[in-house]
């Protein structure tokens, strides 16, 4: 870490992203409507989709923090996915509408004549996005968090839609009236793509899809290091909110005592929470090679 301030900066990244997104949505929405640019309005909706993703993530965290109760003994972690599916279906419809309207405008040669206000809107959007990207990358590098850097690069693609919109607006100003709706269509397609991805993820998580292979490999490898385990029967994992839940069945020597078994369990949990960054709920069952179990 170069400066002490970097830590503070990294902590603020999330907030800055949310605020920046809100600001961008407002600017783009307003300027798009005032400047009569379909593309810019579509881009505002695109930014809204990003903002919603962040908000849903926060909601998911808050909800999964809730204690499980008698009615829901496994907790509320999956509520996040339901909310996400609902919202992204809504956004999907909006995206289709954007594409459809844009196409109609082009086919019927609507005169969409955005004014320069809209171009400024797109310009601000690009600028704000770029600034946020730079902050994330810098802070991510400084506090040595590859995930933050990765996320920053991911969100950089938002800039491309704004650039397309800016080109569309300028093109329309030059007399190619189809260009603004075309930019809108491009943005609409991006929105649809985001929605499909998010819906897919949410559905898979709702269906208790196994974690990615990398994570399973990591679990496998770390378990192999524990000498007191004679074999691994199976590892079931799923994602619940921000937790990973693992159910691990292990083979052990049949003649160990219960307290020895408890020590093994604790060791497994310790090893796994050292390898995987997310919070974990781990259930370990110890089995003998042939038959019988201790729980």
């Amino acid at each position: 870490m170069k400066y002490a301030a970097c830590k503070k900066c990294a902590e603020s990244v999330g907030m800055v992203n949310i605020m920046g997104n809100i600001l961008m949505i407002l600017i783009k929405g307003y300027m798009g409507v005032v400047g009569r640019s379909k593309g810019l309005i579509a881009d505002a909706i695109h930014s809204s989709a990003d903002l919603l993703a962040t908000i849903i993530m926060i909601i998911g965290m808050k909800i999964s923090e809730n204690e499980s109760d008698e009615r829901y003994p496994y907790g509320y972690g999956k509520a996040e996915y339901i909310v996400a599916i609902l919202i992204y279906i809504f956004l999907f419809v909006i995206g289709v509408y954007i594409v459809y309207e844009g196409a109609i405008s082009i086919i019927y040669k609507h005169i969409v004549n955005p004014c320069l206000t809209a171009a400024w809107g797109a310009f601000f959007s690009i600028a704000i996005n770029e600034l946020m990207f730079r902050q994330s990358v810098c802070a991510g590098t400084q506090i040595n968090s590859p995930s933050m850097v990765a996320k920053a690069w991911e969100s950089r693609s938002d800039v491309y839609s704004s650039i397309a919109v800016l080109i569309g607006i300028l093109g329309s100003k030059m007399g190619f009236h189809f260009m603004d709706p075309l930019a809108a269509i491009i943005v609409g397609v991006i929105i649809i793509k985001i929605c499909i991805e998010m819906i897919k993820d949410s559905v898979l998580n709702l269906m208790d899809k196994a974690p990615d292979d990398e994570i399973l490999d990591m679990v496998n490898k770390s378990l192999e290091k524990i000498t007191s385990i004679s074999g691994i029967k199976n590892i079931f994992g799923r994602e619940v909110g921000r937790y990973y839940e693992f159910q691990i069945d292990l083979y052990v020597e049949p003649n160990i005592t219960v307290s020895q078994g408890e020590i093994i369990k604790r060791e497994v949990k310790q090893v796994l929470s050292n390898t995987i960054e997310r919070q974990l709920v781990i259930k370990v069952r110890l089995l003998t090679e042939k038959k019988g179990e201790s729980e």
Partner: protein, 551 residues
């Protein structure tokens, strides 16, 4: 509490997205709205162009008819019939022609659109070549066109498969059709081509009220006037902005709104009023039933009064006719002969018999001629002093250097400003060459009066009285010294005395009794009698040698 906040986030964003989506759909249409949004204004501009100035009351259709004998049949049928209905349409102007058109229409099917040339701005906006298409100015309610979906602001490109370049063309084609035929129209609406099938109908019987509702101009019912310097002074107004109300028609929107005579309308809605013409345009441009907020200046206060525009009910026209005024008590004022208004006169003028006032019998000389008094005007007040009879009139006119005269003309109230002598109504001093040339001097100095001019007042701009015996002053002008002096003729100063005393050689006056003229002539005084105008005029005339002395 925390939970509420959590849900507030996504819900507000979703709501915002919804709003944006709605706006997104609208954006393409905002451009479309352009031409049709501007359309009423263009219509209005169009109206202004076809209106000859001063005929704001006359309805649009009539003017079109007058201007265009070749008015195409089938177009704006309603208006033409309306004219026939309108009794106030002056007899003798193309009545036969109107009948003819009407007969024509019985066979011609009815389309129900009012069309005209494509406004230039619209043509440019939609990139339509000049000379193609006709513009739909308005649509008659429940007409075949409206049923087919044609809208105001559309541009008809093809009619019955033929490209259209003029509105006569539609009329011609229409003539070959009959009710029940279906005609295809290709229309440019906001840059998009659309086609409509219109099933023609025969002219419905109730088209007249529909058309009347369409075209009758909106009306407020207050007579308004520009404010000049004299009116401003009289009504103690801070400036000359706005227009002043001289008359409020009973049972009119203006009366309902509480407007009063003497109110100054400063703003109409958000528009600052400059003059009568602008105000009239604004009223004509507004819809009947529309509410307008007037900003009114009354007695030093600014009020806001909402007025709901109405439509004018037909008023009967009054024919001014003047009976003999033998019995009246006569008087004169600033170049007018006036009498007390008799009940017979009042009824002859179309006024209620109980009207009290002073009738202007004759307007013969300045300043009355200059100001614009007319024979038949009835003066009912001067500077807010009522003049029901000659006594009151004399009292009101006694000590007035400037005045605002409230008079009745026809059935209108008019404020007439009488500027002080030597000034115009706008308050500027009358600039006269002689005024600069001739300087006033005291009468006691050595003025060897060469010319004496009888005068209403001691001023070179005052009028020469009609009769020298009624002249209150003589102005003595010495052209050699470029000076003048005034002498009062009141108090025993007889004319012959003055002539003798000041060595007067010429006398300019109105009528002069033959006896007096003879007396003066025999003393070597040249008499220039029967002169009308101001003393200044007389001097000019004298200098140019165009006056001829009486013998």
């Amino acid at each position: 509490m925390n939970k509420g906040l959590i849900w507030f986030g996504p819900i507000s964003v979703v709501a915002f997205v919804l709003i944006l989506a709605v706006m997104y759909g609208l954006v393409g249409n905002i451009g479309d709205l352009g031409p049709s949004g501007e359309q009423p204004e263009m219509n209005f501009v169009h109206n202004v162009q076809t209106f000859p100035s001063g005929v704001g009351d006359v309805q649009n259709g009539q003017i079109q008819l007058i201007n265009k004998p070749s008015f195409p049949t089938g177009i704006g049928n309603g208006q033409i019939q309306l004219i026939k209905q309108n009794n106030s349409f002056p007899a003798g102007i193309g009545n036969d022609q109107i009948q003819l058109i009407k007969q024509n229409q019985i066979q011609t099917p009815y389309l129900g659109i009012n069309i005209g040339e494509v406004p230039e701005a619209v043509a440019r906006e939609l990139k339509i070549p000049v000379g193609t298409g006709v513009y739909v100015k308005s649509i008659i309610t429940e007409s075949p066109s409206e049923k087919a979906g044609i809208k105001t602001g559309d541009i008809v490109l093809r009619f019955d498969h033929q490209p259209i370049t003029s509105h006569e063309q539609i009329g011609r084609t229409l003539k070959t059709k009959k009710a029940g035929d279906v005609v295809k129209l290709v229309i440019n609406r906001n840059g998009k081509k659309k086609s409509f099938h219109v099933k023609l109908e025969s002219v419905p019987a109730d088209i007249v009220p529909a058309a009347a509702a369409l075209k009758k101009p909106s009306w407020m019912g207050a007579d308004i006037q520009d404010i000049d310097a004299v009116i401003r002074m009289q009504f103690k107004l801070p400036n000359k902005d706005g227009v002043i109300i001289s008359y409020v028609t009973p049972n009119s929107p203006a009366e309902t709104a509480g407007l009063k005579v003497g109110d100054v309308i400063e703003r109409f809605g958000g528009t600052r009023i400059r003059d009568v013409k602008q105000m009239r345009d604004l009223i004509l441009g507004s819809q009947s039933g529309q509410q307008a907020m007037l900003t009114v200046f009354r007695n030093g206060e600014t009020l806001s009064l909402p007025v709901i525009m109405g439509q004018q009910v037909a008023t009967k026209e009054t024919i001014p006719f003047l009976g003999p005024a033998d019995m009246a008590i006569e008087g004169t004022w600033i170049g007018m002969d006036v009498t007390e208004l008799l009940p017979e006169d009042a009824s002859a003028l179309g006024l209620p018999p109980s009207t009290k006032g002073i009738l202007v019998n004759d307007v013969e000389s300045p300043p009355a001629t200059m100001i614009g008094f007319q024979t038949g005007d009835v003066i009912i007040a001067i500077n807010s002093i009522p003049t029901p009879d000659m006594k009151g009139f004399v009292k009101a006119t006694e000590k007035q250097s400037s005045a605002v005269v409230d008079l009745l003309r026809g059935n209108r109230h008019i404020f007439m400003s009488v500027p002080p002598p030597g000034y115009t109504q706008q308050g500027s001093k009358i600039n006269n060459v002689i005024d600069n040339k001739v300087k006033q001097v005291a009468v006691t100095t050595q003025v060897n009066g060469i010319i004496a001019i009888s005068s209403e007042s001691p001023d070179l701009n005052a009028a020469i009285p009609q009769d020298i015996n009624q002249s209150p002053y003589l102005i003595l002008v010495d052209l050699n010294k470029n000076s003048y002096a005034t002498v009062s003729m009141n108090g025993g100063n007889s004319l012959s005395n003055i002539v003798g005393q000041y060595n007067i050689t010429s006398l300019i006056c109105g009528n002069i009794p033959v006896q007096t003229a003879n007396n003066l002539s025999s003393n070597g005084v040249f008499i220039y009698s029967g002169i009308v105008g101001t003393a200044n005029d007389a001097i000019s005339l004298y200098e140019s040698g165009s006056l001829t002395a009486a013998r």
